[in-house]
């Protein structure tokens, strides 16, 4: 029974002697799980501090929704953990195909509605298909590459992998959501690297993705808002000051936190309205202002531990599919942390990419929990 780990009795002397040490339910990575939960709880507090002053009616509105999202995410994660990741081999194609259909549908809806769309509006919730694409593209790519039993990726298979990543990436760029596209490219790079793609293939991907961004930028595929954000980073003096304004204030919030921070709910920039959409785009600035260098280091260390655990599981996995999945999750997580924290520190351009587990947002949270469920699944079944 796949869900037997949920009803596992506590270790009581010889009570569990019947269970094999290889039983999946006895091989959960508790460190990773704990770190993940702690980050999510901290995220709730940070979302509250960054949004409460801007919500007129109910200061708890965002954090309440985030807690609901977290519960859903936990359920999703356990569901993913319950199944052997081998099972995805057969289903990856279908899920991936479904994702592409949904992405195309979103673009068509956007054209019909005459505006850019990055989410489906389902009453109280918005669903972002780009988040789903991260999960399914990772599975598809890992399954596809694990098929080849050689130590290095052949050129045709590399091209195939490129297509698998390219299709959703392009559809997401068109939306336009450069941030999510960059996440998909980053996970592809991780998987391809570990799968043994030659250095020049990796270089090729890098060039391609930079070219895509450039093409989108000059071909007006990127909306004005995003191109302004990029221009602002390249040349802050030339861009209108309003574009650099929020990033500037985010950096000030971090800086003025100093070593110890101004204290819980004490940050004037966090409490003010100077940093738009802080709860989703700049939660790290709220950490920096309220808890200073110490708080930032704690958060980054937790992320560090999570990364190390994922990396370790990649290492422990007995088969390449598990390794590839973990490598993809690793690079994706690493990239997203670096991008989000980096834009808060003004070393990266401003994108709408959330900080995993911390930022407000249901789709992002659920997908990350699902991904970590996959990683746990790899860990749980490493001794099979």
């Amino acid at each position: 029974m796949a869900t037997s780990f949920l009803s596992r009795k506590p270790d009581s002397g010889l009570g569990n002697i019947g269970a094999s040490p290889a039983d999946p339910s006895r091989n959960i990575d508790w460190v990773l799980l704990t770190v993940q939960i702690v980050l999510t709880i901290m995220g709730g507090f940070i979302v509250f501090s960054a949004s409460r002053t801007r919500l007129v009616e109910d200061p708890y509105a965002f954090v309440t929704r985030q807690v609901i999202f977290a519960f859903v995410a936990v359920v999703v994660m356990f569901a993913v953990m319950a199944f052997d990741y081998e099972m995805w081999k057969e289903r990856a194609r279908f899920l991936y195909g479904l994702t592409l259909v949904v992405l195309v549908l979103l673009i068509l809806l956007g054209i019909a509605g005459g505006e850019d769309r990055i989410s489906f509006d389902l009453g109280p919730f918005n669903v972002q298909p780009a988040e789903l694409a991260k999960f399914t593209t990772l599975l598809m790519l890992a399954v596809y590459l694990a098929d080849e039993r050689s130590e290095e990726v052949s050129y045709p298979r590399f091209l195939g992998g490129l297509l698998i990543v390219g299709a959703p990436a392009v559809l997401i760029v068109i939306q336009p959501d450069l941030g999510s596209a960059s996440v998909i490219i980053s996970l592809a790079m991780g998987v391809l690297l570990v799968a043994g793609a030659k250095a020049r293939y990796i270089a090729m991907i890098s060039v391609l993705s930079v070219a895509t961004v450039a093409a989108a930028f000059f071909g007006q595929l990127v909306n004005d808002y995003q191109s302004a954000r990029i221009r602002a980073l390249i040349n802050p003096a030339a861009a209108g000051a309003d574009e650099t304004y929020q990033a500037e204030n985010a950096m000030r919030a971090i800086g003025t936190g100093g070593v110890w921070g101004k204290g819980w709910l004490q940050g004037p920039l966090t409490n003010g309205r100077d940093i738009p959409v802080m709860w989703a785009d700049f939660p790290f600035a709220a950490v920096g202002e309220q808890f200073g260098l110490v708080g930032c280091v704690v958060i980054l260390s937790l992320f560090g531990v999570a990364l190390i655990r994922v990396w370790r599981i990649a290492h422990l996995s007995r088969d390449s599919l598990g390794t590839y999945i973990c490598a993809g999750v690793f690079t994706m997580l690493l990239w997203q942390i670096f991008q989000n924290v980096g834009m808060t520190l003004r070393i990266m351009p401003v994108t709408g990419l959330p900080l995993p587990f911390i930022s407000y947002g249901g789709s992002g949270l659920i997908v990350y929990f699902a991904m970590f469920g996959l990683v746990q699944s790899v860990h749980m079944r490493r001794m099979r």
Partner: protein, 759 residues
């Protein structure tokens, strides 16, 4: 062998995973280093930035739309003006304030005491620097800006001021601007106005405020602790107000104002006679007052001068409803409201009744204290053409005639024997003779004394000679023969009496048509006695039939009514707005003109006018009324006891055949105690030439007979419209003489030959 390759693959994989670990460590190091740098090294300087930079929002004022006449003359314009203002920060401490005022005083030529007084009044928006001197010249402004070190916190504010290049022409129509008052404050601020703003208070400036105003923009910027702009965050440019073209043509407007004022001044020289009383066998004068205490009769002298305090003229195109000229006397110069008058000086210039109308000092926005005595006859800030509450007298008779003909009470061939008096048939002889009910009504008095006797009259003759008895009878019969129903009221209301005309000007008076409900309301308000207010009687209808009693209307309503006869049954909405243009109609090469050919319509122009309602106007009814009104102008008179000339015949004896052919009607509305010097004079005429479809109405308060006071004004106006009367060309005005104590400079018609009459 297989195991070997698997191991090798695993080793390679470990190496590649190692690469990932290195990349991860590298990225974390970058983030860590940057974080450490920001939160330790940079912390203080960032804190300083946060402490000193503040976001400021500066509103950007939209430019107000301009107002043009039908020819493109600029009636209302904007002039850039510079004012000097001081930051409130510097004014809070007494010593500092005194010092800054002392330094500024010489530059802007304003005494220190005046600046201090402004400060103490405390009526300025504290979010904006306090203005200490308005309208400074550019050289002074530049000089002040160059001396920032000596004059810290002093700023030059660019502002715009309303100018009226052709003032005082059409002041009542164009209107004026003023401060936002306490009552309108909420409404304006919720529409995004600033409290320092001036808004339309009267005329088109008020009625078109929304179009003229435009929308505020703003600029949001960050400033450092020395108030220097560090960066601009957001800029939303203002949307300028739309330009508006009026239907008013200043050529006609100027002439109308001149002829009205000239005639009123002439009537002030004239006297009304107080004749010897036939009833006392010519031993006493006919008109007297009774002393309320001693009940002694105090007789007026033989000659009493007319007061002739006020009047109005309306010139309208009755095909389109466009108002070509609209004059109201006494008039004012709307530039007074832009001249920084103090409340005291304002009181000197404008009558106390006006101060009540204004209520708030136009400059300071403070309430003007209630003044003791007022004379509403002389109020200036009232557009009598639309606000006048006038008895119409005999000018109302065509509408009574229409009611009688269209309800079938009379036919065009029916005649009536006018004996000079009318005895009501529905009242018993006993009641009548005992004097319980008034049942005998007389015609107007003829030159030989006693009421005129017109003999056999039909509808059009009755109109031509203005037989009261004929219409008294209609007033009675239309009620008695129709089960006391208000048929007369219903019929005259079709012409627009008793309701707003809908003209785009504020404070319009909709008039009253008397009925039971009105009388009850008036009795409740104390306008009439309780006894009178108990019901609507046939006697009231007899009075209504000749335009007396509680009937009231504005001159514009009268013009619309006659226009409806002229155009065969179309009640037109009087239009004052010809077009609304997108902001920025350019100036023309000609001084004082805008280049209308370059204007873009913001709304579809209403060229053909708007029909309020079409009323039944069979050709024979129209012909009967129109021929009667035509005969008023041209004669011939009507023979009974002797040849009675028609009421307008003598005035129009020299009206040339080349002039616009017209039909019209006189009216003399009796005033208090029916004293002849309280007679108000009305005259309306319309062109019967469809190529020149004008209707002209004149009304002169307390000025005499219709044909004597208002008649000549209408006659002259038609001669002007015909291009016969010499007309002064319209020129841009001289600057306002602020030493004057008159609301407006006097206007005079140079050639008054059109006033001439025979006999």
């Amino acid at each position: 062998m297989k195991g070997h390759t698997e191991n090798m693959a695993a080793d390679k994989r470990a190496t590649r995973l190692g690469v990932l670990a290195v990349v991860g460590t590298l990225l974390f190091s970058i983030v860590g280093a940057r974080l450490w740098f920001l939160q330790t090294v940079e912390a203080d300087s960032l804190q300083q930035q946060v402490d000193t930079t503040k976001v400021r929002t500066k509103p950007l004022i939209p430019e107000r739309g301009r107002i043009f006449d039908a020819d493109g003359r600029i009636l209302a314009d904007n002039q850039r003006s510079l004012s000097v203002a001081v930051d409130w920060e510097l004014l809070r401490r007494d010593s500092q304030r005194e010092e800054i005022f002392r330094r500024l005083s010489g530059w802007v030529d304003v005494p220190v005491e005046d600046m201090e007084e402004r400060f103490q009044r405390g009526i300025f928006d504290t979010l904006l620097p306090m203005p200490v001197a308005e309208d400074v010249d550019e050289r002074t402004a530049i000089a002040i800006q160059e001396r920032v070190e000596d004059l810290p916190g002093v700023t030059i504010i660019e502002d715009s001021e309303r100018v009226y290049p052709f003032a005082p022409l059409a002041s009542h129509v164009v209107g004026y601007m003023g401060a936002i008052t306490a009552e309108t404050k909420d409404q304006y601020t919720s529409n995004g106005y600033s409290l320092n703003e001036r808004v339309g208070q009267f005329g088109v400036e008020l009625s078109m405020e929304e179009q003229l105003h435009g929308e505020w923009g703003y600029i949001k910027f960050e400033v450092d602790n020395r108030n220097r702009i560090v960066s601009v965050i957001e800029e939303v440019p203002p949307i300028n107000g739309r330009d508006i073209q009026l239907t008013i043509d200043l050529d006609q407007q100027q002439y109308a104002e001149q002829v009205l004022e000239t005639q009123i001044r002439l009537r002030q020289q004239a006297v009304a006679r107080n004749p010897l009383d036939r009833d006392t066998n010519f031993t006493t004068r006919a008109f007297y007052e009774t002393d309320p205490v001693t009940e002694e009769k105090i007789y007026y002298p033989e000659e009493v001068p007319f007061k002739a305090p006020a009047g109005a003229v309306v010139v309208q195109n009755h095909e389109t409803g466009h108002v070509i000229a609209m004059a109201s006397y006494p008039t004012f110069d709307n530039r007074w409201f832009e001249s920084d008058l103090s409340g005291g000086k304002f009181g000197e210039i404008f009558d106390a009744t006006d101060l009540e109308a204004v209520e708030y000092d136009p400059v300071t926005g403070l309430a003007i204290p209630e003044t003791i005595k007022t004379d509403p006859d002389r109020s200036t800030l009232v557009n009598r053409a639309i606000q006048g509450r006038y008895n119409l007298g005999s000018t109302f008779k065509p509408f009574t005639a229409y009611a009688a003909l269209s309800t079938g009470l009379l036919t065009t061939t029916e005649t009536y024997e006018d004996t000079g008096t009318y005895r009501m048939v529905s009242v018993d002889r006993d009641k009548c003779e005992s004097g319980v009910v008034r049942c005998v009504y007389k015609n107007a008095t003829c030159p030989f004394g006693g009421p005129c006797v017109y003999g056999t009259v039909d509808v059009h003759t009755a109109l031509a000679v203005s037989s009261d008895a004929f219409f008294y009878r209609i007033g009675e019969l239309i009620m008695e023969e129709n089960e006391q129903k208000d048929l007369l009221q219903q019929q005259v209301k079709l012409f627009g009496f008793g309701s707003d005309t809908g003209i785009d000007l504020p404070f319009e008076f909709g008039g009253t048509v008397p009925d039971r409900e009105l009388k009850e309301r008036y009795a409740a308000n104390g306008v009439i006695s309780k006894d009178e207010g108990t019901g609507y009687f046939t006697g009231d209808n007899v009075q209504l039939a000749i335009g007396q009693g509680l009937l009231s209307a504005s001159p514009l309503q009268l013009a619309v009514g006659y226009g409806t006869i002229a155009n065969s049954g179309f009640v037109m909405k009087p239009e004052i707005i010809k077009a609304v243009f997108e902001a920025g109609v350019p100036d023309s090469d000609r001084q004082g003109y805008a280049d209308i050919s370059q204007a873009r319509f913001a709304e579809e122009p209403n060229v053909d006018g708007e029909v309020v309602r079409q009323i039944p106007m069979p050709a024979e009814i129209r012909e009967e009324i129109s021929s009667g009104l035509r005969r008023v102008i041209t004669g011939p008179g009507h023979f009974s006891d002797y040849l009675h000339s028609t009421t307008g015949e003598k005035l129009f004896f020299d009206y040339p055949s080349s002039a616009i052919p017209i039909a019209g009607k006189t009216g003399t509305a009796q005033g208090r105690n029916n004293f002849p010097w309280n007679d108000s004079s009305a005259f309306t005429a319309y062109s019967i030439d469809p190529e020149q479809p004008y209707t002209v109405t004149a009304y002169l308060e307390k000025s005499g007979y219709g044909a004597t006071a208002a008649g000549p004004v209408v006659k002259c106006m038609f001669l002007q419209l015909s291009g016969i009367a010499p007309t002064d060309s319209v020129v841009v005005s001289e600057p306002l003489d602020t030493n004057s104590i008159f609301p407006a400079a006097p206007k005079k018609l140079n050639d008054t030959s059109c006033f001439s009459r025979r006999g």
